[in-house]
Amino acid sequence: MMETPQAAAADSVLSRVAPANPGASASPWLRFAARRLGQLLVSALVLITASFLIIHLVPGDPVRAALGLDASQQLVDARRAALGLDNPLWLQYVDYLRNLFAGRFGTSITSGLPVSQVISQRLPFTLELAGYSFIVAVVVAVPLGLVLGVATRGGRRRGTELAFTSVSILLAAIPGFLLAVGLVYLFAVTLHWVPVAGESGFSSYLLPVASMAIGPAVVLARILRLEVIAALRADYVRTARAKRLPAWRIYLLHVLPNALTATLTICGLLLAAMIAGTVLVENVFAWPGLGSEIVASIIAKDYPVVQAIVLVYGTGVLLINLIVDVALALLDPRSTIRES
């Protein structure tokens, strides 16, 4: 990614062209911002449309399905009218958009509570879980990947390398919710160190966070190790060694930033996958977040709630992708200029 010949060639062309055209130094950023913003808007519109269509694509009458066969026809009709389902589709779409921008997500069919209230109650728990898990994964993976990369470079310590690779393949293959079941068995049921389920202070975070963080941490460490090995062979590391810098300076200031930049896209993918993973892990631990709410709502056919939560998850993914792209552009300006 960093040192491909094409990139170097494009780079050299650009650097030669740049002095002749001083205005070009500012415009790539503008072009990048415009292109990325356009991408975000289109994706957001697709996401909103998809969430709007949910209630119209489900087979049968969604209100009847939600209220059950015993509900009276008047009640169903009243709820239909309240949800605006009798209006023409385009009007419903316009209303949906207008309500979204006003922050109105409608009311739950089953509980009658405003959906925005449900979301604001549940979202913090999910954000906490995903956020802590991501932080733990990065905090574990970065030192691990760096140390292993340095220790196993140039074919050193083959045994360590083999052991790490095998363990990481196995751990990465276990999805978070299955790991969660194993951890619950080991630490909650057998050892009684932590509670089995629910949110009740620090100890209740340990297992959910661990089960979500271990897989991504291992994957990230594995990729980082390879990137560190690749960076250690780069010419600029030879330059740093020719400057006779202390080893820690070479590893932390010259190797790590480059290796981390190369793993940034992976971090975005892992974080996005983690948001999806919360749905399963929350259900293992009866965690009071969005994940357990959306499953309950799907089963109860409470579509306004489902629509809103789908929107929240999707927005999260779009934001992560945006942050990764911007961070990548800032850390490796060549990639931005190259694309635009």
């Binding site: 994706s43 050193r156 068995y185 400057k243 996958a273």
Partner: protein
């Protein structure tokens, strides 16, 4: 796909055999085989055991009769896990099939439906791919409703965008190939083009990805069933068993663990087999891109390729009193008996510019790296002496090497300030993510203990010294914002951040434009002359060495074969030196004759002949040359040469008639070497 299989089926079978031949491939195949056998036979063999209701043993833990206990109806969970393999694996395969089919449709549509609709489909795919497959599956599960059928469609559709993108990328790359263009010109219809030319070529990659995706689908299905959105009772798959088991995890954890283990093992079997297939069929890492998991895999494979690339290349006399650098019997060896540098000795005097010249593989760059202590394992460096300013560099290094890095802080400071290095490619030799000024300032901050500001000021001063315009501005820029020539000048500035007594420049102009080369050489020369520094200048270009250096060391196959002042290059006495000179075109070179080259290949360091390594390419070679390696002998004037036939070479008469045509340009008829004029 069938067509291509029959087309070169034999080659494919051979490659498949190669996949299964590796330990990873064979164990993955065995694992997958067991999963497949279970999926086929378990329901036939154990359905009755699994469904047998035993009200006398409800919700029991593991026992000799029920290995992992029983459920609420007293049914044996172990047999249920075995029987569930058919439904679990079958649904996963079916979902993958749906995903591949939809992916093929969506992915090839842009080739068929025309440009505008194609672009629309592509952009929709690109948006969908940004979302994790699990979220997409959840979305589709909402629409298709709860149950096995809904989950099947949901997981299938959720994997479709990833497959569509894969197919799109692959078919776009295939569609660009020459023979497709030829077929198109010949009037082959788009659809026929697709089925006959495009699809057969992407089949292998698709199969590899589908195998891995089946593993992912298995996990996704387990997830949906576990959430209660997939398979519904009384049917059961692994996810549903897991859901049941989790409710009783306090009393009978085995009932939750067993289906979980089954899911992991089966998922692993598909994934590992897919990876083994990818390795065996040579599917490139860029093509493993289906889904978020797939992109992770692709990234992993790409990183591995990057890490694997750029393997390190396998490749007693009087010393003047004012020597800055003294090297005696320097050897560089690699594991496997490769000796790219074979016992060379030389010295560089104060203020002297010494060129080391030779073809690639002659060991000249390794010599430079070994002398500057930059060679790492697996290279092994040994020498009777390597001293810089009288300080033994190598002996101290030997002690420090155990830690894998320089442990002696004093030595590090000494080398960091007294020896500067300039490398070949200024494009890659700067750290791309650090500002130029900071990279220079680092030297002063680390070795001279200067403050950040002082070090920065010194960096700007050095940039000015190497004639970089607006050095304050350039110091704040990133390397990619500087031109190649400017970057190399900054590199020279970095080399003189300390007060170096010696600057080692390893092919410093090879990567630059010809016009820039001259500027950089002139700068190097003036910096060296102004600072009274010694220069060790490595180059494959004898003309460049002639412009910059006072003395030339000619290396061939890891040995110095001639050592002479630049002014005397015209009467060099080694045939190799003469051949190098003759290969330089000049204004007098006849245009109608092919350019002179040195015939034959450079000696292979892994397989050196007995005797003189140049003998095979030498017009003067005799039997003695092929048997005995000539030593480097000094004459009265201090010139050194390693050749048995110096007199014959100087007389210009090849002794071996058979090899007469070997040197395309006869040393005499070549006239005075072009270099002589430039040196003066």
């Amino acid at each position: 796909m069938a067509r291509s299989t029959s087309g070169n089926g034999r080659a494919r079978t051979a490659r498949l055999r190669r996949v299964l031949g590796t330990p990873a491939g064979s164990s993955a195949a065995v694992l997958l085989g067991i999963v497949a056998l279970l999926a086929i036979f378990a329901p036939i063999l154990w359905s009755s055991d699994a469904s047998a209701i035993d009200t006398s043993s409800i919700l029991q833990g593991p026992s000799a009769r029920h290995w992992v206990g029983t459920n609420g109806l007293g049914q044996d969970v172990f047999y249920q896990v075995l029987v569930a393999s058919r439904l679990s694996v079958g649904l996963a395969l079916a979902a993958t099939g749906i995903g591949v089919a939809c992916g093929l449709l969506l992915g090839t549509a842009p080739l068929i439906v025309g440009r505008r609709a194609g672009r629309f489909i592509t952009s929709v795919i690109n948006i969908a791919v940004a979302f994790p497959a699990l979220l997409l599956a959840l979305f589709f599960a909402i629409i298709f409703g709860i149950g096995a059928q809904g989950a099947l469609l949901a997981i299938g559709f959720a994997s479709a965008p990833a497959f569509a993108r894969l197919v799109r990328t692959l078919s776009a790359s295939v569609a660009g190939l020459d023979y497709i263009a030829a077929a198109r010109i010949a009037g082959v219809s788009r659809f026929r083009l697709l089925t006959r030319h495009v699809l057969p070529n992407i089949g292998e990659t698709l199969i590899v990805n589908a195998t891995m995706a089946a593993g992912d689908a298995l996990l996704s299905f387990a997830g949906l069933s576990f959430l209660g959105l997939g398979v519904q009772p009384p049917s059961y798959d692994w996810g549903q068993l897991l859901n049941n088991g989790l409710q009783g995890i306090y009393t009978r954890p085995a009932a939750a663990i067993a289906p979980g283990v089954a899911v992991v093992v089966a998922g692993l079997a598909f994934n590992l087999f897919g990876e083994a297939l990818a390795a065996g069929l040579g599917v490139s890492p860029q093509n493993i891109t289906a889904g978020v998991l797939g992109r992770l895999r692709g990234a992993l494979a790409a990183s591995a390729a990057r890490a694997a690339a750029a393997e390190p290349p396998p490749s007693a006399r009087t010393v003047p009193a004012d020597s800055v650098l003294v090297v005696s019997n320097l050897e560089v060896a690699f594991p496997g008996g490769v000796h790219p540098v074979r016992g060379i000795s030389f010295a560089v005097r104060r203020g002297e510019a010494v060129g080391v010249v030779g073809e690639s593989g002659s060991g000249k760059s390794l010599t430079a790296l070994a002398v500057s202590r930059l060679l790492e394992r697996p290279a092994r460096v040994s020498a009777t002496e390597v001293t810089l300013l009288g300080r033994d560099v190598l002996a101290e290094a030997g002690r420090g090497r155990a830690a894998g890095a320089m442990s002696d802080r004093g030595l590090r400071r000494f080398l960091g300030t007294k020896a500067g290095l300039v490398f070949q490619d200024p494009m890659t030799s700067f750290n791309p993510v650090k500002r130029v000024g900071a990279q220079l300032a680092e030297v002063a901050a680390v070795h001279h203990g200067l403050s950040r500001r002082q070090a920065g000021a010194r960096a700007v001063d050095r940039l000015r010294a190497v004639r970089i315009p607006r050095p304050e501005h350039r110091a704040r820029q990133f390397p990619h914002e500087l031109s190649g020539g400017m970057r190399q000048r900054a590199m020279i500035g970095m080399a003189v951040m300390g007060e170096p007594a010696l600057v080692i420049a390893d092919e410093p102009t090879t990567a630059l434009d010809v016009t820039v080369q001259r500027q950089v050489l002139r700068l190097l020369k003036s910096i060296q002359a102004d600072g009274d520094m010694a220069l060790l200048f490595i180059s494959h270009d004898i003309t460049v060495v002639g412009q910059v250096c006072d003395r030339v060391l000619v290396m061939y196959a890891g040995k110095i074969v001639e050592n002479l002042p630049v002014g005397q290059l015209t009467d060099a006495s080694h045939p190799y030196t003469r051949a190098l000179l003759a290969a330089v075109p000049s204004m007098e070179t006849p245009r109608d004759r092919p350019l002179a080259v040195i015939p034959g290949r450079p000696a292979d360091p892994a397989n050196l002949p007995a005797g003189c390594a140049f003998a095979a390419r030498c017009a003067f070679a005799s039997d003695r040359c092929r048997a005995e390696d000539p030593p480097l002998v000094a004459d009265l004037a201090g010139r050194e040469v390693a050749c048995w036939h110096v007199d014959a070479v100087l007389a210009g008469a090849p002794t071996a008639v058979a090899g007469a045509e070997a040197l395309t340009a006869d040393p005499e008829s070549a006239g005075p070497a072009p270099i002589s004029g430039e040196v003066a």
